[in-house]
Symmetry: C2
Amino acid sequence: MIERKTKFGIIGLGLLGGSYAIALSQKGYDVTGVDIDENACAAALEKGWAKKAGSDPELLSGCDFVISALYPRTFVEWIRTNQQVLKPGCLLSDVTGVKRYIIEQLGAILRPDVEFIACHPMAGREYRGISYADPHRFKAANFIVVPTRKNTEQAVSAARQLGEILGFRRITELDPDKHDEMIGYLSQLTHVIAVSLMNANDHSDLAAYTGDSFRDLTRIAFINEDLWPQLFVMNKDYLLAEIDAFVSEMQEFRSLIDKEDTESMRQKLIQSSQRQQAFKKNDENK
Amino acid sequence: MIERKTKFGIIGLGLLGGSYAIALSQKGYDVTGVDIDENACAAALEKGWAKKAGSDPELLSGCDFVISALYPRTFVEWIRTNQQVLKPGCLLSDVTGVKRYIIEQLGAILRPDVEFIACHPMAGREYRGISYADPHRFKAANFIVVPTRKNTEQAVSAARQLGEILGFRRITELDPDKHDEMIGYLSQLTHVIAVSLMNANDHSDLAAYTGDSFRDLTRIAFINEDLWPQLFVMNKDYLLAEIDAFVSEMQEFRSLIDKEDTESMRQKLIQSSQRQQAFKKNDENK
């Protein structure tokens, strides 16, 4: 359980780590930040988002709840190199967008006296760095706790409580498989589509005519090129299956256009409209 | 040229026709509406959006500038059946989303003493009917005049003036080929993508986890199933070429994930980010 005196450690003071530091410090918690970027540490100290901040992992040695906001491969490397600094019995969490990879990797190397509880705050965005950190975005977002059978009930409760303290709209639990399948469809497939739409043709001469639909579909084509390829590879099985299902559906629709089969297209549009409404409804009910 | 005394006729009092009627009547122009739906006519009369409204095409016989806001096939049929009511020398325009088809069809049947000037108000939306009519949407939208070599300068000027009177943000001209190519990419391809994404799998169990990216990509999967299949078929050549280019790019990206080639993916994401920014910039400069 998180208590008033629980000391938080945050590894990586970027967009998400910075937002965590802001939210936790504003609620009165003791926050320590670790980042190899001195400017990020200086910013966190200056704004009062962390009591202590610096590049030395030792700073985390007194923390009860340590959250990594590093990219997934960097997180695994960090644990491999620095886990000896963690306090015995401390809780470890993360912000990674795919879960099976992280759980598997950490499972193989993490000290047995530190418990890892995977979390996915669905509040990433296209910008990077602490200067874009802003916990207000959490108000509209999902916080997903992704426990395994090895996790204790206390760790799951503490993770849920963290989501509440951070101000997320909705806190849910998913098992790692279901989580990664969901992310493959709702997030990764959509990003691959946006990127492919933008890259398929250089139609920049048409930019002046951009309407809402094109704008909506390509907003996420502005994307962190260092992070996402890692995430795609780590979720390769689900993502490739989603891409294949989508491309096959596109090809089917293509053949209806080619055959000028307006009636079958009509049925497809009715189905997509109904599903869109169902998604929208569920969304509004949240 | 449009003058204060110019009498407007609108065929089809739906979302767009209704919005035209509102904008023109509010600016003090004389508007006559024709629609087979008595309720739409009654609404237009009651709200003062039209001086005269009814189902009889004869109502348009005194109009100087007649605009069809019908679906494309219905518009061609209407002209075939009713064009004798039009005033000699009157100007005729439309709101259709693809242009080569309409220009070709009307070119073969339209009376020589009536001039057709094609226009595309890029302000359609997913809802239908006069109850959703609202000219405020024009403020953020493009109005494209699509002249052919047969059009007079006067007709092009009058069409541009119409776009201004209706309150569109930006009035431009494109030739029919360029217009249809642009629409194939910026609008039709995006709709086919959204529909295919929604139809590829029934993932409605995941609706509770919908984030911004999925919401953005599927908003337009709620789509008018009677109108769009017509438009897809009428622009088949360009649309199929765009679908093929997009699917080929998706397949290329898929193989990079499969090969775990993160460096090539990185380059793709850098390219898509740059193009997205170029589109965005151009958009902001408008």
